[in-house]
């Protein structure tokens, strides 16, 4: 699950990491009030940042500076309501604009190949790490946390040294790196990223300038499998940005991803669901969705899944592909028959059910006059033909 920058910063703060204060605003008026509070506290400028769950906010014009509360309100009114990669900005983060001396990248990820948590750091901060990896892979330094002891101080130190940090910023870096690891563990995160991690210059009232390491941005994604033991994190799910069908799919316990095509797919198993999409494409069609009903799906799940598919008005044909193992074919067939009795519009469908209780399923489907297929290829080909027929 992706969460917003402001929420990610709260998680970092909870682990004692240095994050400058911020406020979240939903209207230009709130932006103005937030900006005023930072400016009154001595900020020279404030930064207003769109809160959306997609990358590239800066490039899209979703991050702007302002020198006064009125200017902040104006900037805020432009960013709020803006469309960034298809997502409408509904809230912004307002914070003091730091005087940046240098930007770094620091991230903690789960590395599948080594089966460890890996911390990555780079002196090329403030740009997307994928870009650095592509352009200058040598600029990214890595350490693997010990799988049983965690990220050790000497490992974090080595990483800080590798990106050129020295006294007095090395110890704060070690604390930040270990804090990222702790944030990951405390929340079952699968990614914790601070980009930029910045050295900022701060001028004290007496005029003395000091340098400090702070987390200016934060990105955290949570392991869906860990959410059950962190009930409070569920509240961070951004329903504003969620497709309503996602919430419905979650309730049904199925995996559903909306796509752009016309052929609705219902499949059991993630790998087979992807394969079904691929074959639809092979035969010249376009899948409307990825849908895995999961193992052991009951008829209620099948009915709910059918409703989700039909909610997409672009769907002009449906392909059901079930290879029964734990899932019983007759249960799915019964669900399909019930769903057809309830559905609001007629959409041609081809059903392929093999494996456990396939014979019983075939009989039910034959009696209910469903179009069926035996092989996966045949099913995909028929579905594409049905969609083409519907388009004519």
């Amino acid at each position: 699950m992706k969460i917003q920058e402001a929420d990610a910063k709260s998680l970092l703060l909870a682990q004692g990491l240095p994050v400058p204060p911020w406020k979240v605003a939903r209207t230009p008026k709130e932006v103005e009030a937030a900006a005023k509070s930072f400016l009154d506290a001595g900020a020279g400028k404030v930064v207003v940042k769109a809160q959306v769950l997609v990358g590239g906010r800066g490039k899209a014009g979703g991050v702007k500076l302002a020198g006064s509360a009125a200017e902040a309100a104006e900037v805020g009114s432009k960013i709020l309501g803006m469309d960034i990669k298809g997502i409408t900005v509904r809230k912004v983060l307002v914070s003091t604009a730091a005087e940046i001396v240098k930007e770094y990248y620091l991230g903690a990820i789960i590395d599948r190949a080594s089966r460890r948590i890996v911390l990555m750091a780079s002196a090329e901060g403030g740009v997307e790490i994928e870009e650095v990896a592509h352009r200058n892979p040598g600029a990214i330094h890595r350490v693997s946390a010990d799988p049983q002891l965690g990220l050790l101080a000497f490992q974090a130190r080595a990483l800080g040294l590798a990106i050129g940090l020295r006294d007095p910023l090395l110890s704060p870096f070690v604390a930040v790196a270990r804090g990222l690891y702790a944030t990951m563990q405390a929340n079952d995160a699968d990614l914790v990223e601070v980009n930029p991690l910045a050295i900022v210059a701060e001028t004290a009232p007496g005029g003395a300038v000091t340098q400090r390491l702070v987390c200016l941005d934060a990105k955290v994604t949570l392991d869906d499998s860990g959410l059950a033991r962190h009930p409070s994190l569920e509240a961070l799910r951004d329903l504003d940005e969620e497709d309503p069908t996602d919430a419905q799919a979650r309730k049904l316990g199925i995996n559903f991803i909306h796509l752009d095509g016309t052929i609705g797919c219902m499949v059991n198993g993630a790998g087979l669901a992807m394969t079904t999409m691929d074959l639809v494409k092979n035969y010249g069609g376009e899948p409307a969705n990825f849908l895995d009903v999961g193992g052991g799906a009951r008829r209620e799940t099948v009915r709910g899944a059918m409703e989700l598919i039909l909610a997409d008005s672009k769907v002009s044909a449906i392909l059901v592909n079930i290879f029964g193992g734990i899932t019983r074919g007759d249960e799915v067939a019964a669900g399909l028959i019930e769903a057809r009795g309830e559905q609001s519009r007629e959409v041609p469908m081809v059903v392929r059910i093999v494996g456990t209780n396939a014979t019983e399923a075939a009989q039910l489907l034959r009696e209910a006059r469903f179009e069926t297929a035996t092989s996966l290829d045949e099913a995909a080909e028929k579905a594409v033909a049905l969609a083409e027929g519907a388009a004519r």
Partner: protein, 294 residues
Amino acid sequence: MSILVGSETRLVVQGITGREGEFHTRASVAYGTRVVAGTRPGKGGQTAIDGTVPIFDTVAEAVSQAGANTSVIYIPAGGAPDAILEAVDAGIGTIVCITEGIPALDMIPVVEAVRRAGARLIGPNCPGVTSPGLAKVGIIPASIHKQGRVGVVSRSGTLTYEAVQAMTDAGIGQSTGVGIGGDPIIGTTFLDVPKLFHDGPETEAIVMIGEIGGSAEEEAASYAAEQLKGVPMAAFIAGRTAPPGRRMGHAGAIISGGSGTAAEKIAALEAAGVRVADSPTQLPKLLREAGYRP
């Protein structure tokens, strides 16, 4: 001949009294798998599966009293990591964890403990391992297999069934089918299984079923190019039409930062001399083209 499970397998089922545990144990027994014990803490001394399988409180007892050497785990995500560690501690050599939804961070220290003990973990979130005619450990339907000499490794469940069924229908039998699981942190990788097939006797051809995400298929491809020259191989990669940045059901199936795409994997496999199918049903044909004669 088989790898991982076979005629030597003496299976203990961890979580034998649960709904899934009982259902799939029955199927394993019916297949001829030697199920010597089950565990359910607090119900030691009772029996399961119509009185045919003794229940023990601990895996250690299943090992010392029933001679178990392999375990399968049907315990919910909250208890499954502990169940794996208990099996390791009891000296079980091969552990198959079917459980889905274990947090990835739980698995990191667990796979390390498995590695240090020199044990082998398959899964989690996997359908299991079947050596046709010898033993079936996990939830793969018995009916799809035929005894033979093609080794199958897969990251997926039902897609494996599809591929294996296509081979069986074409008269091509399998030595062992291994579903390694769809999670990001798993005990046995896509690369490990071809190595096991290579080191074990009598597997003469290999079928690999991969999917988007990670780089395990690429690693298997470079191993194949170096070590499996002359071995007929065919592969299928799911997710050619998957959109980037979205998790396709399996926690591990995601294209991130432009890497982990099906196209990259297919290119790596083809460069290594592995024939890649457009549909799982083409696998038998590709195996024959690669020179395999069942």
